[in-house]
Amino acid sequence: MQTEVNVVFLVLASALFAVLMVAFVVIFLYITQKRSFKYSENLIKIKQEYDSAILNSQIEVQAQTLKEVSEELHDNVGQLLSSVIIHIKVLGDKGNSEIQNHIEDTKALVMDVKEQVRHISRSISPQHIEDFGLWDSITYQADRINRIGTIKIDLKIEGHQKHFNPRIELVLFRMVQELMNNAIKHSECENIYIKLVYINNKLTISVKDDGKGFDKTEILKNRQFKDGSGLHALENKAKYINCSITFTSGGNGTRITLIKDFENENY
């Protein structure tokens, strides 16, 4: 009788022990998994913060460099060109009538160069973008390209224009500038359509071209090469200012849409 009780007890105890053992294993593995997930999440967060800080300093360095280049172009090169024009004028006064026409042509060319330098200086100056806002800066840039005449840029605005955080507007402007340059350099397009839509505190910018289009996956595959790095940089900038970016590309051209919600931004 005693043996029977002992055996029954042992069998039941082992079954109970097995249940506890399984529960222990499952709980232990679950906790390990949770810890691992948390650790990975923290790692991703740290990496994102690090990337953001790097991008921020890159943008600051770029802004500072462009500011210096812009000032240099405006103050030094502009002044030098003004001096050249004065000298040409003096030469014209002294020269005979045979070379008069050449001198006039040269003067016109130098004045044109001076004008171009002034435009470049303005378009790269962060201060100019901050002072005039996103829409005017894009308009200025588009006018400059339209004047060259090879590609036509069509600009449209919907809603009431607003001025948001200048730091974010500067990044948005650089992105639009990059998109225009990409279209001109790679798409073989004839027209670029840029539309800015202001609805409440949301700004949607679409940049569309009628070029040959591209395969985003193929380009991003070559990210280590120059082709993909531009797109990657655009995506990074978008992430940095918390703006969504979508690419649609095919035989009819490429459309890139940027959507920035300024609702929670300090502006």
């Binding site: 043996t3 029977e4 055996v7 029954v8 042992l10 069998v11 039941l12 105890a13 082992s14 079954a15 022990f17 097995a18 249940v19 053992m21 399984v22 294993v25 499952v26 232990f28 593995l29 679950y30 390990t32 998994q33 810890r35 691992s36 997930f37 990975s40």
Partner: protein, 213 residues
């Protein structure tokens, strides 16, 4: 309802529960890789074995010879699963040598200690010990992997298989050890095996279903 009828219901449910992993396997059949299809094939063989064993049992025909063969097949199948899923080389070697030892021991017991017509307690106990050990080795490796990789354990088929194996063989350890005594004094205690077997088959079914999207 008397205790024996109650026990018989448990036995029938337990035997039928082998259909659970097979159903699970068929539900996700399209998503099964070669490894998954091999496991499903084993469980399909188990249906036949389980059916024959239960049928013989109900007709008071000694089913122990069939059970002895099934035991070897079962060990081979589970040991193979651990062998393929455990990555560390020394533990793979351990499983290989342990399996060689197990099969030698099982044949020795069959030839010299127990008749093929009685329950092979010793072999079953060694099988339980080894498979519990293998599952713990697997969990140890899994816990290490979890520290470096982002894996969701509930989506790992082998995790559910190992839980089922650990639960089944640990719960039944003393039942296997004292089977010959129990069958004389309280045969209905085998109902514990039926409950545990049903639960293990349920866990094996999850090992298939966890592959669903």
């Amino acid at each position: 309802m008397d205790l024996v009828s109650f026990y018989n219901i448990f036995v029938i449910i337990s035997a039928a529960s082998i259909l659970l992993p097979n159903m699970g396997g068929l539900i996700v059949f399209k998503r099964l890789d070669i490894e998954g299809k091999k496991i499903l094939a084993f469980f399909a063989i188990f249906i036949i074995v389980e059916f024959v064993i239960t049928w013989l049992g109900f007709h008071k025909i000694n089913n122990m010879p069939m059970f002895s063969i099934f035991e070897l097949l079962e060990y081979g199948f589970f040991a193979y699963l651990f062998y393929t899923n455990i990555k560390e080389l020394r533990w793979k070697k351990f499983i290989k040598y342990a399996s060689f030892f197990y099969f030698t021991f099982a044949i020795f017991v069959l030839l010299f200690i127990r008749s093929i017509y009685e329950f092979n307690s010793e072999t079953r106990v060694v099988e339980s010990l080894l498979l519990v050990l293998f599952s713990l080795l697997y969990f140890n490796e899994l816990s290490k992997a979890l520290q470096t990789e982002q894996i969701s354990i509930k989506k790992i088929p082998m995790f559910w298989m190992s839980i089922g194996i650990l639960f089944y063989f640990m719960s039944n350890f003393f039942l296997f050890l004292f089977y010959n005594e129990i069958s004389k004094i309280t045969p209905t205690l085998w109902a514990i095996h039926s409950v545990v077997n049903t639960a293990a088959n349920f866990l094996f079914m999850i090992s298939f279903l966890c592959r669903q999207k």
